[in-house]
Every structure is written in structure tokens, then in C-alpha cells.
């Protein structure tokens, strides 16, 4: 590894930049340290079954309880034992939006971890591992971890030994151990792990000094947990799904809260059943949702149209993973956008909301459930494996005024007068709950008249199609514009959607610190119908538009071109199943776009 170093003074901040050739990734890596901001990044790696996940979870919680911000993402192979798995953990004294490829430390439980990741390690970084790995690298900190774990009578305590050592290396104190170990370990393993942690702490020496920080009231939550929590807050009553990574933890989280929150969580026999059950429950008056990944969504699409024509509120979560077919089951991609905006035959109004971060996951799920009820349409929430499984610390959610309220006004319809599909000005017809009034509530997947009875009459068909699309016109006034970040006077505008939010926001900050031009970004949450106002306005000021997506074809760029005629200057696309990082965005802009 050779490189160039330069030190610049910019905007009152001391910026240190080092430029190195990364052989494994074969592109330039730029590292920025902005004075005053301290964020560290460590990788914990080993094979499945070594307890890396538990170790990472405990470490995250210890750091969070010590008042630091945390962002952690897991990279897991689709197998229960063996393989190479790791967790990337960033922590520090300011909010962290995404992961990073550049490592301050590697905690290796096998030799592969070192071999595979050493190229990402900073020159002044460290590798924490057992003495048994004979690797030549001045950055190695090798400790007798295995023999200590054996002495303690439990080889699995090696994780706790490493946690202790790591805390010491970063100059942190071993606080909050009892609560945290108690939370994640069985009672009988708590004491021995505490001992292991403290002995690990004593074995290591401090290398860094992190200022104290005190953001102890933050939430530490994963994307799927946040999404499920948002659904509970909206008053979810029924969740039905068929297990499929990476969506399953939504069902698991809801199940764990179901008894207290009064939610029926039912595992369906397949995704077709799951969505039809959600529709049936919703028809009967329950706030209902289903969730899956792309493959399961494929099975659901006919019923999406049922929700459309029968005007039954429905929220479907698609936690994307790379396809087609089984694809890369445990990895990430944003390749279902074009599919979900057009899935199912025929035409009907729908909405697609992309989840950008852990805040969105909560609030947008709530909003989706409310809007689907208001407009009586299907709404698809697009998340992905990266967001679903990553854990971040964020501000607590505002829990006032949560649950969906019944519209009592509609319940007054007199006996006999009720028309389920009444033609109205805004297209929204009165939705009653069957059995709650002296009216018959109907639903029909055939074209139907105002009463909900099957018809083939051409005039009625037109009236009903128009009625349904009037709801869409109204909805278009309610879509949220994309979030704008960066410099007000920019020459390059980055575009993105969903979970690349964090990497893009952080990359804009980095790009604006050097002299390669001025950058801004628009990142879409509401994506269909496409909000166009801010896009048109911001595009008109840009010399270059760079579209960034986690797919092979540039689906957002296509959608934007189709809806607005705006053509992106270039695309940065990634479809290897690994989330793009801020570092990769910066490097690819410099290499692919600027050179």
C-alpha cells in the first residue's frame, strides 16, 4: 500500500486526507478526518456459529449505554454454520447514517477475516486476534484469548474477552456490564462472561482516546424492528406472512409484542394466502399488513389488483434482496422498484414508499397504514436487507396521536341507502365495516356498480375506473418531496432512493470538503407516484445529475425519465449484493464520473 498524504485547512477545520490504492477493491480510497468529529469503524469477523452476532450485539449495547452513537451492519452468508460472516460497527460522538469500508480495527476469530479485510485497514489501524494466527503485520495485537477462554472453562467466552480488550484499546471503561450481559446471555453464562470481559480488558493496552459523550436517550433499533414498531403504533391488528429473509424479523418482532399489543400474527401457508388473508381481515375492519421479499411479492401480485379494484386498504412490505429467483438470499439490492410500481395486471391507483432510514421505517409505516385506509388503495413499502438488518442509534420517536381513527361520520348511512362504491368527487367511497351497521358491505374483484354488484356495462366500467383514478389525483397532492441535502449552490446533483440515503448523505459531506466541485443530493422516500416538483426545480440548477442505485439497470433514472423527461448524466450502479458505502460513492464519482 503506497499513497499520498496531504493536509489542508478548510473552513476552520483541519482536514487530513490520505490516498491509498486498495488492491482488493481496485479503486481509490480517500480517507477524511475532519477535526472534532470522531467516528471509529471496526469489523468483527469469523465463521457462522462462533457467536459473532451475540458479541457484536453486546458490544453495540455497551457502546450505546456509554452514550455513543452506533451504526452496525451484518454481512451474513446464507448458511447456518461455517462461511465468512462479519459485522461492521461504527461508533462515535455524532450521528452515524451508514457503514464504512475503511477500518480502524479488525477483530478476527479466524484467519480468513484478516486475509479478506486487511486491505481495508488504515495504516494506523489494528488487528485484534488470538496468538495462534501467525500473521506478519505490524498492526497485529495478538492476545492469549483462546487459552484464557479455555481456562475459564468455556470457549465461547472468547467473544467477551475480545469485547473487554476492544474497550481498553479504545480507552473506554468497562461500564454497564451487568445489565447488558444480563439482557443478551442466559443467567448461567453471565458471571463467566463478565469475568472474561474484565480479564480481556486487563490484557490489552489503550491505543485511542475517545472523548466522553452522553447521548444515552437514543434508541438503538434495526430497520425491521422500526418498521414493525411503526405498524404497532398505527394500531395494527393483523399481520400475516410466510417466512422469507430478510422480511421474517418483522413477523418475529410483531409476534413478540402481539400478546400485549392485541395483534394476531399468523404464519400463512404461502404468500398468496398471506396477502389474501390481509385483504380479508382489512375488509372486515382490521388494520392489516403483510410482508415478504421479492420472491414472495411475485406470488402476491394478483391480490394486489384485488385490493386495487375492490378498494380494500392494504399495506405490503417488500424487504428487497437480490434476485432474480433465489438470487443472493441474505444480501441487499434495490431492484424491485419497477416491478412493484407495475405489478399485477390491469390499472389501478397504488402508492410506493421507499424507506430511507430507521426514522422513516417507523413514521412511513404508520403513514402508509393511514393513507391506505384513507384512499382505500394498496401501498407498498420498499425496504431492503441493508436497512432491515442494520442497527442505528436515532432520536426517540414521537408517540403522540398514533392509532388510525375510525371515520364515524360514515357510519350513519341509513339502512338501504348505502352504496359501497358510491361515485364521489374525489373518488373516495364510504367504507363501512361489515356487521357494524344495518348495511350490506360488498367487495368484488369483478368490475362492479356502486352497490358492488358485478357488471359489464361500459358506462359503469368507465365511471368506476375514473372514480378510482380520481383518488390517485388527490393522492398526488399528498406525496412527500424527496429530501434535499448538501450545498445550496451546487453543480452536481446526486439522486437516490431508499436505503442508499445514509451513504449518499455522508458522501455529499465528504465531496463538499474538497475542491472537486459542489454537491447536493435528492433522495426519494415517496417514489410512486413520483413527486416531481422539487426534482424539476433542483435539476434545473445542476450541471451534472448522477443517479446512484443498488441495481444493474438504473430503475429510478428510468422512472424519472419516463415521468419527467429528465435524463441523468451518469449512473453509479451496484448489484453485487453489498451495500454501497459513502467511500465507494466518493471514489466512483471521482473515478467514473470525473476522470
Amino acid at each position: 500500500m503506497g499513497g499520498i498524504c496531504r493536509i489542508r485547512f478548510e473552513g476552520g477545520l483541519l482536514t487530513y486526507q490520505s490516498r491509498e490504492i486498495d488492491k482488493s477493491l481496485r479503486y481509490l480510497i480517500f480517507i477524511n478526518y475532519k477535526g472534532g468529529i470522531i467516528i471509529y469503524n471496526v469489523l468483527i469477523g469469523g465463521t457462522a456459529g462462533q457467536g459473532i452476532e451475540t458479541m457484536a450485539t453486546i458490544l453495540q449495547k455497551l457502546l450505546k449505554d456509554s452514550g455513543y452513537h452506533v451504526f452496525a451492519v451484518r454481512d451474513v452468508m446464507s448458511r447456518v454454520r461455517g462461511g465468512h460472516n462479519f459485522t461492521l460497527l461504527r461508533f462515535g460522538i455524532e450521528a452515524i447514517q451508514s457503514h464504512s469500508d475503511i477500518l480502524d480495527g479488525i477483530i478476527a476469530f479466524d484467519e480468513d477475516t484478516i486475509k479478506l479485510h486487511v486491505a481495508q485497514l488504515k495504516q494506523d489501524g489494528f488487528i485484534l486476534c488470538d496468538t495462534q494466527w501467525k500473521i506478519e503485520d505490524s498492526r497485529i495485537i495478538s492476545l492469549e484469548m483462546v487459552s484464557l477462554a479455555k481456562q475459564l472453562g468455556n470457549i465461547r467466552t472468547i467473544g467477551s474477552i475480545a469485547i473487554g480488550a476492544l474497550l481498553k484499546i479504545f480507552g473506554l471503561k468497562p461500564l454497564h456490564m451487568d445489565e447488558v450481559l444480563g439482557k443478551y446471555l442466559k443467567e448461567q453464562y453471565k458471571e463467566v462472561n463478565k469475568k472474561a470481559l474484565l480479564q480481556g480488558y486487563d490484557m490489552a493496552v489503550s491505543k485511542y482516546e475517545i472523548p466522553e459523550h452522553n447521548d444515552r436517550d437514543l434508541l438503538m433499533i434495526s430497520g425491521n424492528q422500526a418498521l414493525a414498531f411503526g405498524a404497532i403504533a398505527a394500531g395494527l391488528k393483523f399481520y400475516c406472512a410466510y417466512p422469507m429473509s430478510p422480511s421474517t424479523s418483522i413477523m418475529e418482532f410483531l409476534a413478540s409484542k402481539s400478546d400485549k399489543a392485541g395483534i394476531v400474527v399468523e404464519q400463512a401457508e404461502d404468500e398468496i394466502a398471506a396477502i389474501n388473508m390481509a385483504i380479508g381481515a382489512s375488509f372486515a375492519g382490521a388494520v392489516a399488513m403483510t410482508g415478504t421479499s421479492g420472491g414472495g411479492f411475485c406470488l402476491m401480485v394478483e391480490a394486489l389488483g384485488l385490493s386495487g379494484i375492490a378498494e380494500i386498504p392494504l399495506v405490503v412490505v417488500d424487504v428487497q434482496r437480490p434476485g432474480p429467483a433465489t438470487g443472493l438470499p441474505t444480501r441487499t439490492e434495490q431492484s424491485d422498484l419497477k416491478f412493484v410500481i407495475s405489478a399485477s395486471h390491469g390499472e389501478f391507483p397504488r402508492m410506493v414508499i421507499a424507506i430511507r432510514n430507521h426514522k422513516d421505517a417507523f413514521y412511513q409505516t404508520m403513514r402508509a397504514l393511514k393513507l391506505s385506509k384513507k384512499y382505500q388503495i394498496p401501498i407498498i413499502l420498499l425496504s431492503d436487507q441493508y436497512l432491515a438488518d442494520s442497527v442505528a442509534t436515532i432520536e426517540p420517536y414521537d408517540l403522540t396521536d398514533m392509532a388510525i381513527q375510525e371515520d364515524n361520520e360514515l357510519l350513519d348511512s341509513k339502512e338501504g341507502n348505502y352504496l359501497r362504491y358510491r361515485i364521489t368527487q374525489d373518488g373516495i367511497s364510504p367504507l363501512l365495516i361489515p356487521g357494524k351497521t344495518k348495511n350490506f358491505v360488498t367487495a368484488d374483484s369483478d368490475e362492479h356498480d356502486e352497490r358492488g354488484w358485478i357488471t359489464e356495462d361500459a358506462e359503469v366500467r368507465n365511471a368506476m375506473m375514473n372514480k378510482r383514478f380520481r383518488k390517485w389525483d388527490k393522492l398526488k397532492n399528498e406525496v412527500q418531496e424527496p429530501e434535499f441535502v448538501g450545498e445550496d449552490s451546487y453543480d452536481t446533483l446526486l439522486l437516490g432512493w431508499g436505503s442508499t440515503y445514509g451513504p449518499i448523505v455522508e458522501s455529499v459531506n465528504i465531496l463538499n470538503q474538497d475542491s472537486y466541485g459542489k454537491y447536493a443530493a435528492l433522495i426519494f422516500g415517496d417514489i410512486y407516484p413520483l413527486p416531481e416538483k422539487l426534482l424539476k426545480e433542483k435539476v434545473s440548477n445542476a450541471k451534472k445529475i448522477i443517479n446512484i442505485e443498488q441495481n444493474a439497470t438504473g430503475q429510478l433514472a428510468d422512472l424519472i425519465r419516463e415521468r419527467t423527461g429528465i435524463v441523468c448524466t451518469s449512473n453509479i450502479l451496484k448489484y453485487d449484493g453489498r451495500q454501497i458505502s459513502k467511500d465507494e460513492i466518493v471514489n466512483r464519482i471521482r473515478k467514473e464520473v470525473l476522470e
Binding site: 404461502d270 372486515a284 375492519g285 350490506f440
Partner: protein, 281 residues
């Protein structure tokens, strides 16, 4: 007795579906069901149009998908009397997986399968119960696949109420329907129904010559006897409740639903949100 109205249908004159509709109306009236608390669910097919022809709440969903919507509606509001009317293609073919697994789920709904041994709506192709050798425009050399025995399958799968009826035996059908609706749990009745337009094998007289009603000497709680009886489908076809057993329903087993309060009426205590949020702090 409650009052239920039926409407004009789009069925062929002479179709067995008319009797089934009439019997269902009578059964509901004799059970004094409030029509506003009844939900009729259908998939797609000739039989599945029935919910449109009767004055109750109605849900006509997708082909094969009547059961998932019906059980979920019942889960949402147990005060509804939920009745599925659909064809055997809908119920055992396209929706076969839901049939198997809703036996296991045992939600308290009633499933009337109008079994005309043919696909009526799509104009006469072989269905899961069509006889071997039936010639259609698709099965040009005669249907080669062995017919499914739905009642045998239902009993073997663990259903607690399994019956067979014939649309031509109205009094018997009404009686079976009433018992099926009253049964607590998933009740399935396979109703033999002539399709005058397309099924030239299984005609009214074909069934009339073969069916006989089970009498009191038959013990419908004996599972082994029921399995044997269910296999009878040749020269003689038994009608009646083939198997009946009390089983815990989905609602009785579900910790949230067993209180008897409809799910849609349950209000959560907002404190739960703070509790959940604190778990993440």
C-alpha cells in the same frame, strides 16, 4: 325467523346451483341469522357468484382464494357468520393449498363446495374431481387423472366436520347446511351439483340413482368408519355427515381472541408503545 332475499342470477336454467342458493337462504332463515352479520365469501366460478345473489354482506375475491379471505375476516370479527361458497376447482384445484392448511387452522367458518365435477365458468374442462375418461375440449382422449376424493382428504387431514350432500335433496341439504353453520370450527360440505350445460356424465339422474342418506345406524364420530364411508363413491354415494368431532378452534386457541372480544374492537393501551420504545433505549 329472519328474512333473507335472493336476487336474479346468471346461472343456466336447470343448474344445481339454484337449489343450493334456495337451501342456503332457508337454512339461514331457520337459524334466524341476522343477514347484516352474515358474510358470504366466494372465489371465482359459477358457484362463487352465489354471494352476489343473496342479501348478506359479500366478498367475491380471486379464483382459489376464498378461504384465506374468509378465515381472516372471521379472525378480524368473530361476530360475523362466515360462509364460503365456491366450486371444486376453486376450492381443491387453484386453492388446494389453502384447503389443506385451513383444515389445520380450524377457524370457525363454513365451506360449501359446489362440486359439479367440472369447470363450469370456463366452459367445461376437467376439474380435480372429474371422472376418469371424461372427454372435454382439453381432455380430448378422456381425463386421465384420478379424481380427488375431497371428503376422504378432509377427514384424513383432520377436519372436524365433513359432510356430503346433493343439490337435488333439498330437505337433507338444508339440514346439513344448518348443522355445518352451527358447528364450531371449520366445516366442509361437498355438495354434488349437476352442471346441465357441460357435465354430461354426472347428471341429475346419475346422482339420483346413486345417492343414499346415512341413517342413525351410522356413527359419524368413528373416524375409521368415516374413512371407509368416505371412500364409497361408485355405485352408491353416501350423503350426510361423514365425520364429526369437537376440536379447539383457532379462536379458542388464540391468546388474544379467546376472550371472545372481536379483534377489531380491541383497543391497545398506548402505554405499550412507551414500553416497547424503552426496550430500545
Amino acid at each position: 325467523m329472519s328474512k333473507i332475499t335472493t336476487y336474479e342470477t346468471a346461472w343456466c336454467p336447470g343448474c344445481g346451483n339454484f337449489n343450493i342458493l334456495d337451501c342456503l337462504k332457508t337454512a339461514l332463515e331457520e337459524l334466524n341469522k341476522d343477514p347484516y352479520e352474515v358474510l358470504m365469501v366466494g372465489g371465482i366460478g359459477q358457484a362463487a357468484k352465489l354471494p352476489q345473489y343473496i342479501s348478506t354482506n359479500s366478498f367475491c375475491g380471486l379464483h382459489g382464494r376464498a378461504l384465506p379471505a374468509a378465515v381472516a375476516a372471521k379472525i378480524a370479527n368473530e361476530k360475523l357468520t362466515v360462509i364460503v361458497n365456491s366450486g371444486e376447482g376453486d376450492s381443491y384445484g387453484e386453492g388446494g393449498n389453502h384447503f389443506l392448511h385451513n383444515i389445520r387452522r380450524n377457524v370457525d367458518i363454513t365451506h360449501f363446495v359446489h362440486d359439479n365435477q367440472i369447470y363450469g365458468l370456463t366452459k367445461g374442462q376437467a376439474s380435480p374431481t372429474s371422472m376418469v375418461g371424461m372427454i372435454t375440449e382439453v381432455q380430448i382422449h378422456g381425463n386421465a387423472n384420478i379424481p380427488l376424493n375431497p371428503v376422504l382428504l378432509a377427514i384424513a387431514g383432520g377436519a372436524g366436520f365433513v359432510a356430503r350432500a346433493f343439490s337435488g335433496r333439498q330437505e337433507h341439504l338444508i339440514n346439513i347446511m344448518k348443522q355445518a353453520i352451527e358447528y364450531e370450527g371449520y366445516a366442509i360440505v361437498d355438495i354434488l351439483q349437476p352442471c346441465v350445460s357441460f357435465n354430461k356424465l354426472n347428471t341429475f339422474s346419475f346422482y339420483s340413482q346413486r345417492v343414499y342418506e346415512l341413517d342413525s345406524s351410522y356413527d359419524c364420530t368413528d373416524k375409521t368408519a368415516a374413512l371407509l364411508k368416505a371412500m364409497e363413491f361408485e355405485d352408491k354415494i353416501p350423503l350426510g355427515i361423514l365425520y364429526k368431532e369437537n376440536k379447539s378452534t383457532f379462536h379458542q386457541k388464540n391468546i388474544i381472541l379467546k376472550s371472545g372480544m372481536p379483534l377489531i374492537d380491541l383497543q391497545y393501551d398506548p402505554v405499550i408503545l412507551d414500553t416497547i420504545m424503552n426496550e430500545f433505549i
